[in-house]
């Protein structure tokens, strides 16, 4: 048997063969992979990429971005597309990690045709990708970012970036204008301790004195902090006219509001103002009775405001395609609005290149969205400087008026 095996294949032959095969594979592998990426989806489509976290962290946000942009594209495709071309959205999972996000971006950009519009929403990732776009794909890609961080808003430095909302300083200034209208003189700022919480602080410190408001203290509570008693006791001791919260999702503000109510500082007695990422249905559900009277802002309107044509159109689309869906979170509506901007840019573009789409988006001035948001003005590379002020009444966010958030 052994002799037979030996006669069949010698060790030397085996090694030679494996060496040739492995060497060939090693040299050829990138070529094989490259061919795998060079899949053409045809010239009749316009490609976009939604690069968002679908696993690991803030997945609800990523899923809403993918779903919201995808659904609006689907609606436009049903209406015949744009200039005879269908819209195609590729979704990639950034895992809320910069290195993974860049890898996903690189993977999609290695394909042909490349996406011309990118939807994303992470600050660190946006900065890294912006550099790549400017150096390697200038004039080819437009970046519509859902992060409202002020550092990403630099039209001259980053000409292909658009902030899909007012910036955090815009939001803060809008809130402080309202706080002034409430007649508050002494305000406590409660913020998270990170990039998000710190983002509008410089603008707040600059704007407050101009409005005659004294920031008596900045109280720090972490995102997701469970026990906020010490912060609330501090607020009670400071006895402010108003409390402003920024840098949170719904959980921490809900806990603060509830604990404040327990210590005799209900929102009706001491006004509480939230920024946009906390102003949502989850906050109302979590805060319960204590949430009544709390003010909040947002640059999009909510699912239940179906008297607005822009919201009604979105709800009708959902009822047609997803009969079991009876509610969409506000992040879905933000993503839907992002897609509205992208589609408007594509419609207006003389040439369907990144440069052409960028110029077209910049030409969007005082655009109506059927009441889905305040009027859009993208000349300055952000959606708007207005936000809608809401108040929680009867476990619903009820719009009061639009507030300007530009410089004071």
């Amino acid at each position: 048997m052994d002799e037979k095996i030996r006669s069949m294949v010698t060790r030397r032959e085996f090694m030679k063969t494996t060496t040739v095969i492995a060497g060939g594979l090693a040299v050829g592998a990138p070529g094989i992979l490259r061919n795998a990426f060079a899949q053409d989806s045809g010239g009749g489509t316009i490609k976009a990429l939604a690069l968002c976290p679908l696993t690991r962290a803030i997945t609800w946000f990523g899923e809403a971005v993918a779903q919201g942009t995808g659904d609006y594209f689907k609606m436009i495709n049903e209406q015949g597309g744009i200039k005879g071309k269908k819209l195609e959205l590729e979704v990639a999972d950034s895992q809320y990690l910069v290195d993974v996000g860049i890898a996903q971006f690189r993977r999609v950009m290695a394909k042909d045709p490349k996406p011309q519009i990118i939807f994303s929403g992470e600050t660190g990732l946006t900065k890294a990708i912006t550099r790549i776009i400017e150096e390697e794909f200038p004039g080819q890609v437009v970046y519509l970012g859902l992060s409202q961080s002020v550092e990403l808003w630099a039209p001259k430095k980053h000409p292909y970036n658009f902030v899909m909302g007012p910036t955090y300083p815009d939001e803060a200034r809008a809130c402080f204008r309202w706080i002034k209208e409430l007649g508050a003189k002494k305000v406590v700022v409660v913020r998270s301790d990170g990039a998000w919480g710190l983002d509008p602080m410089e603008a707040i410190r600059e704007a407050a004195p101009k409005l005659g408001i004294n920031i008596i203290e900045e109280v720090v509570a972490k995102v997701g902090e469970v026990d906020v008693t010490s912060q609330v006791l501090r607020i009670k001791k400071l006895n402010p006219d108003c409390v402003f919260l920024h840098g949170y999702l719904h959980e921490t503000p809900a806990r603060i509001v509830k604990t404040m109510a327990e210590y005799g500082m209900s929102a009706k007695k001491t006004p509480i103002v939230l920024t946009s990422w906390s102003t949502n249905k989850k906050f109302i559900d979590s805060a319960g009775e204590a949430g009544e009277g709390v003010y909040g802002i947002n640059h999009v309107h909510y699912w239940w405001e179906q008297d607005r044509p822009g919201i009604k159109q979105m709800v009708d689309f959902n009822q047609k395609h997803y009969p079991n869906v009876d509610y969409r979170i506000v992040d879905y509506i933000r993503a839907w609005l992002c897609a509205i901007v992208a589609v408007e840019g594509l419609k207006r573009a003389n040439v369907l290149t990144g440069e052409g789409i960028k110029s077209a988006i910049e030409s969007i001035i005082d655009m109506e969205t059927g009441g889905l948001s305040p009027k859009l003005n993208l000349k300055e590379h952000k959606l708007t400087e207005y936000t809608t002020l809401y108040q929680v009444k009867g476990k619903r966010l009820v719009p009061i008026k639009d507030v300007y958030g530009g410089p004071i």
């Binding site: 052994d2 095996i5 060790r11 030397r12 085996f14 090694m15 060496t19 060497g23 090693a26 040299v27 990138p30 070529g31 992979l33 490259r34 795998a36 990426f37 939604a50 679908l54 696993t55 690991r56 997945t59 990523g62 899923e63 993918a66 590729e90 979704v91 990639a92 999972d93 990690l97 910069v98 290195d99 993974v100 860049i102 890898a103 996903q104 690189r106 993977r107 950009m109 290695a110 600050t123 660190g124 900065k127 890294a128 550099r131 150096e135 390697e136 550092e151 301790d193 990170g194 990039a195 998000w196 710190l198 983002d199």
Partner: protein, 346 residues
């Protein structure tokens, strides 16, 4: 002799000290290096980016393995040391105009010094206690980054220009690949040789039994500090290369999760193995990418698809660890042993 030797037969010291013992292995290494040199000419930017990420991660994983795998000191501060390296390079480069060839080793040195300071409690505390001490350092580091705005740029971080050396800019994925390759080869060679020296052997002695190591004359405290220093030096180089690669850094680049990822790399690759660090880095970086390439051909809900990818990745880790608890390095060794005796393997 073209065949694989059945035993190790050496007639002089130099052959005994050789890293690669047979012509066959040397040929493979040379062939692989040739492949790596040719790669930027034939691969697209995505493959090169992933390759660069692997290269950077290999250096970081070797550093982690020196401390945890070889010396037995568990740390959750690796991300912070990587961050120190990245910020050192960025600050030196942007604020003082220090060139890359100085900023890179400086990043390693500053990280090493920080590591040695953080390593001081390691004489008193070990295991889970050391883990908590290094975790505390990670938290302090993040706080420092956010609140030292004049130095670190605060939440906005620092933008950094691409590395340049002798007038050559390493701004593209392809050019950076060569720079990275040189750094990886140097890192591997240093680490491989480290464990053939007195210091490297002392690391292993401390890991296996620190009291016994002290009895045989090893200065445990000094050796542990050297381990921390060397590990952090590697981390610093990793951070510096990352900063020069992405051209902008901010606190969110160095979360606690990064340390956990490096621990995963060395556990999957093989604790106390240099080649294990390489395998671990490749596994952790490449498998999710392969899964996303496959996933891009499947038309189902992206959210569900990404979750499935993560599940498959998790299952693969479990499967590999069940097949070989000592990591991929041991698996590789077993495969080599099998083929060494083929067709008479048992």
């Amino acid at each position: 002799m073209s065949h694989w030797p059945v035993g190790i037969y050496k007639t002089n010291y130099s052959s005994d000290e050789a890293i690669f013992h047979t012509k066959f292995v040397k040929s493979w290494v040379i062939l692989f290096l040739v492949f790596l040199i040719v790669l930027p000419l034939i691969a697209n930017d995505y493959i090169l980016y992933v390759s660069n990420l692997i290269g950077i991660s290999i250096i970081g994983a070797i550093g982690m393995n020196i401390l945890t795998g070889f010396t037995g000191l568990i740390s959750l501060g690796h991300a912070a040391f990587i961050g120190i390296g990245a910020y050192t390079s960025a600050i030196l480069s942007t604020k003082l105009g220090v060139p890359f060839f100085i900023a890179l080793p400086a990043a390693g040195l500053i990280s090493a010094i920080s590591g040695m300071i953080i390593g001081i409690p390691s004489l008193r505390v070990k295991g889970l206690y050391l883990l908590i001490a290094t975790l505390a350092f990670q938290i302090i580091f993040e706080y420092f980054l956010f609140h030292s705005t004049p130095l670190t740029g605060g939440p906005q971080g620092i933008g950094i220009k691409s590395a340049t050396l002798f007038g050559i800019s390493f701004s593209s994925e392809g050019s950076f690949f060569y720079l990275n390759l040189v750094m990886v080869v140097l890192s591997l060679l240093f680490a491989k040789n480290l464990f053939r020296t007195n210091i490297g052997r002392s690391f292993i002695a401390i890991r296996d039994r620190d009291i016994a190591a002290e009895i045989v004359g090893i200065n445990v405290f000094k050796t542990k500090l050297i381990a921390f220093g060397l590990s952090s030096f590697y981390a610093g180089i990793t951070g510096s290369l990352w900063a020069y690669h992405v051209n902008s850094i901010s606190p969110e680049h160095f979360p606690l999760w990064l340390s956990i990822r490096y621990i995963a790399m060395i556990i999957i690759g093989g604790l106390g193995s240099i080649i294990g660090s390489v395998f671990g880095a490749i596994f952790v970086i490449v498998i999710p990418e392969i899964l996303s390439v496959f996933a891009s051909f499947v038309d189902i809900n992206p959210g569900i698809l990404s979750s499935l990818q993560q599940m498959v990745f998790g299952i693969l880790i479990i499967v590999f660890l069940i097949v070989e608890p000592d990591g991929l390095a041991e698996l590789w060794k077993r495969i080599k042993e099998y083929w060494k005796l083929w067709p008479y393997s048992y």
